[in-house]
Each structure stands twice: as C-alpha cells, then as structure tokens.
C-alpha cells in the first residue's frame, strides 16, 4: 500500500511498498483512510526534535477512514462504518481512561510512561504507524473511533480528531471566566482554534501573538480577535503588560511548543543542537505575561528533556499551570454539537488538499510556511474507493 515513509529530519517520501496493516489484537480494527492531516506537532517529528523517531515509520495522528476489518472483540464498530479516529490510543479500562483522561492511557505505550499511545508519533508515543497512509491499524477500536454523524463534512470530521479538541481544551484548561483577557501564543492551527474557542468560555478579549503575518491576518478574521507580530515589538511581555493595564493577561495559552521562534538562545539549545526539550520561548513569555494568580495553559508539544522556563516566576506570581494532551473522546460530543450547529467551522482553516503521493511537498510547504499554508490535508486516492 501507499504510505508516508520517514527517512530522517526534513526527509519523507511516499512509499508504495509499505506492508498492509494487520489485526494484532482482538480489539483492533483496520481502517481505509479517507482524510489525514499533517499536524503542527508532526513538524516536531519532521524536524528531528522527538527522540526515538525511527527511520521507516509512518506519521499521521489526525485521520478519518472507513472500517474494513475488525478484531474478534470489536463490538462498537462494523465494516463500512466511516469513523473519525482520535489521536489518543486509549484502552478505556486503566485508571486514567476511567476518569476520561484518554490522552494519558496507561495501556497503550510501553516505551514511555509520561505519554499515552499516539498514532504515528515516534516510539516515545508507542511506536504505532500512523494515518498518512491508505490503511492503518486502529487499536482499542471500541473506545476511540467515533462514527461520523450524518451531514457532517469529512473535512470538519478530520479536524475533530486533534486540532479542534486540542484548541478547545487549551481554552478549557485556561479556566476562563467571563470577561477575561486571554493571550494565545501561536497562530498555527491549534492557536487559531484556541482563540476561537476562548470566546465560547466567555473571554472578554482574545489576543494572538505570532510572527507570521499571513497567519495573523487569518486568525484576526477567523477568530475575530486581536493579533500582533512579536517581531514588531521590542519585548512582547512588556507589550502585553501595557495592553492589559499593566497587570498581565488573565490566561495565557502556549499553542506553540518546542519549535518556538523569538529567542536566539532558546532556538540554539532547543532546536538546533538540540540540548533541551525544545525552544520554550512561547512558554517563557506566557509565564511572564500572565497576571499574578493567573493561569497558563499548555498544549504546545515539548520533548521529554528539560525546557528552559522561569519556574521561579511561577512560584512568585502564584501561577497555576495546566497542561495535557487533549482528551479527544471526552470532548467529541460537545465539539460535534458546536460544529453541527455552526458555532465552529473547522474546515475553514484547511488551506491545502494534497494527494498522499505528494506528501514530501506537503511537509515542506507546511514546515517552510510556503503558499500561505495554514493546514494541509492529505487525501489518498483510495479514499475515493466505493
């Protein structure tokens, strides 16, 4: 079958000779992929920032597809069901899943205890091949995969597998109270969604900080918020203090993670060498821009090594830090309702629809931010099969 094949940092190819996935466990399903996104966090893998990313792996954790085979213990799905597949692989039985922390499953990732299994996200997240392929193995198929509601656009459905829940949970973890000023660092797809969702929780003012002008322009329109380029400021922290009456924002959201620009030292030790868990510039700014007693919500992805953040300021300012991988399964009922009722329009952020055969170009366009790219979606030709 055709699938993306990782060959090393900044090198991927479409490979026609990948083996078909097989049922390995009674609760597995095999899904024929109909849509698969390239996620901003795939770029961390693509850039070589996540340890134990092995050559030959297939990425892709945001996908929809049609069930073509089920294991003997799969009872919630049948062949022919068209499903959206949350990026978290969750057993539904461990203490964390039982408490709806589906992003923290303890029975899906042998290689690391700090993160649950994630499709196509290195061996640090379980060593599963992902959905940038014609077919994919979906473990614990009774738990994660959700049948796409009738009338829902496939392009909306695929974004409900990660980017929308992650943006929504970023706002949810902010504990936003009515009238709060919310600052979102990062105008990538997750930052855009976090800004949009902040209004749903009653934010009074939403500010997005980034350095890519076309994305700032997009988020200004899409999320009806303020958006500023930090390269046009002497110091974004001072700017944010000044614009929030010198006290700081009520809530700051880090929607960037380990690939952050804006600080030469962080970029050197976190991205170029890399000696730390990533460039933590956005998180650094978030901690320093939030008010005393404020909340910092982190959904940006970092590597497992230490990151350089001003932890002393967290203590002295009495900041609450809330962070997690999005618990997609928990949020889907709410988000499906928001999409079906028109409150959220995820597919508007899709800027590129690319054949799976051109996956290498897709990664480059997204990584280098060419052609005003915001969100690329890969479509295998087999998606059109009857």
């Amino acid at each position: 079958m055709l699938a993306m094949n990782f060959r090393g940092p900044f090198r991927v190819r479409a490979d026609r000779n990948r083996p078909m996935p097989e049922i390995k466990h009674p609760q597995d399903a095999i899904v024929r992929v109909t849509r698969s996104c390239i996620c901003g966090s795939d770029l961390h893998l693509y850039h070589g920032l996540v340890p134990d990313t092995r050559v030959g792996m297939t990425f892709g954790h945001e996908f929809t597809g049609v069930v073509v085979e089920t294991g003997s213990a799969v009872t919630n799905l049948k062949t022919g069901d068209h499903v959206m597949v949350p990026f978290n692989i969750a057993c539904g039985m461990c203490p964390f899943c039982k408490q709806q922390l589906y992003g923290n499953c303890h029975e899906s990732n042998p290689e690391a205890t700090a993160v649950g299994g994630i499709f196509g996200y290195s061996h640090t997240a379980g060593g599963y091949d992902g959905g940038q392929a014609e077919y994919v193995r979906v473990p614990y198929a009774n738990v994660g995969p959700t049948i796409i509601p009738q009338g829902m656009d496939l392009d909306d459905a695929v974004l409900l597998t990660d980017v929308v829940p992650t943006g929504y949970q970023a706002a949810e973890m902010g504990g936003i109270q009515q009238g709060d000023t919310v600052v979102v660092f990062g105008a990538g797809p997750v930052g855009i969604m976090a800004a949009k969702c902040a209004w749903l929780f009653g934010a009074g003012r939403v500010i997005v900080i980034d350095h890519i002008d076309y994305r700032l322009e997009f988020v200004r329109q899409y999320a009806q918020c303020e958006a500023y380029n930090f390269k046009e400021m002497d110091d974004p922290v001072v700017f944010l203090k000044k614009t929030t009456g010198w006290l700081g924002a009520d809530v700051c959201i880090d929607a960037v993670g380990c690939d952050a620009a804006g600080n030469a030292f962080q970029s050197l030790v976190g991205r170029k060498l890399p000696l730390t868990g990533g460039s933590a510039t956005a998180l650094h700014w978030a901690i320093n821009s939030v008010k005393k007693g404020g909340i910092v919500s982190i959904v940006g992805v970092y590597g497992p090594l230490d990151a350089l953040v001003p932890i002393g300021n967290v203590v002295n300012k009495g900041i609450t830090i809330r962070a997690n991988q999005a618990s997609v399964k928990r949020l889907l009922p709410t988000l499906i309702d928001h999409v079906m009722s028109g409150r959220l329009n995820p597919k508007a952020i899709i800027s590129h629809r690319i054949p799976l055969e051109e996956v290498a170009e897709g990664y480059h366009i997204f990584s280098a931010k060419r052609d005003n790219c915001i969100k690329p979606v890969l479509i295998p030709s087999s998606a059109y099969a009857a």
Binding site: G8, R13, P51, K98, Q99, Q100, P110, T113, G127, I365
Partner: protein, 178 residues
Amino acid sequence: MENIAEPNKAIEADIDREIANRTKDIPGWGIDADIKNNPTYPMKHYNGADHERFNYEKPPQQPIDVEILHSIERPGVTRVFGTSTPPSGLSGMLRRYAFRYSESTYAHWVPLVVADRINVIEGIVDDLKHGHIPNIFAEKGWQAEWKYNRQGFIKNVAVTVAVTAVVATLLFRKKKSK
C-alpha cells in the same frame, strides 16, 4: 543485618493499603475535601480509580511477536503496542542501552537522540542495499520550494555552492603548500 539491597520492599510490606484503616484515627480526615479544588477539574472525572494503582482489570495482551523496548518505569509492556520499525543495527543497540535507564535520566534520552541520527545513515545504506537510490531532492520536498520560493531557492543553492567552493579551495591550497 539490614537488607540494604531492596529497602523499599521491606518498607512497603508494612504499609496498610486500606485507606479506611490508615485514616480512621485522624481527626477531621477529609473534612475539607472538594472535588473541584483540583487542577485537573473538569478535565478529569475523578472517581478514585487512581487508587487501584496497577491492580485494575486489563484488556487482553497483544502477542509480543517483535522486539518491544519498554520503559523501566513500568513492570512490562502495555496490553497493546505499535509494531513499526523494531530496533535494529547500531541504532538498535543504542536504543536497547537507553532503555536500561528511566525516562527521568539523560542516559535514556541522549542515546535515543544519537540513535535517531545514526538511523538516518542506516536508512540510506538500507535503501542502497535494496537497489533504491534515495531521491533527496524529492524527499525534502524541494519541488514545492522551486514552485513557491524559486528566488530564495536559487539564492540558497548559489550560497551553498559558493561556500563549498571557498572551503574546498582553502583546503586544497593548504594541502598543496605542505
């Protein structure tokens, strides 16, 4: 003589796992507990399942038919796991070494990062062994760069060629003067 090799086992044997037994004599135990006073609320639907520790009912075990490295912070492999790209070659040896240490140590992560870099070279060798010459231009997606940033692409290539030429010339001169 005190057993210093496994001190935790001796201590753990004395711990009463029953919360009711442990707390029955503590005045006011739990009086100020508030389920909402929890930084994970409302993300976590608290039901006390954490307190089952590792004794929860588990799904069936996926047959272990490929080499799976598992974190030493857990007693064994998880009930399902990915079977993509098992460890192999020199990078595989390094990965096996890394998994002797916990996720809390550099001895775990640094060898994995080094293994990833070695694995890239192994990937090229493997391609060649299978008669496939990797098309680096295509794999880096430079067709898109040519399409959307032609000027920048030409500039980058020109700079790279010029720098390489200067370095090569300097090295060649040095060798000649010897």
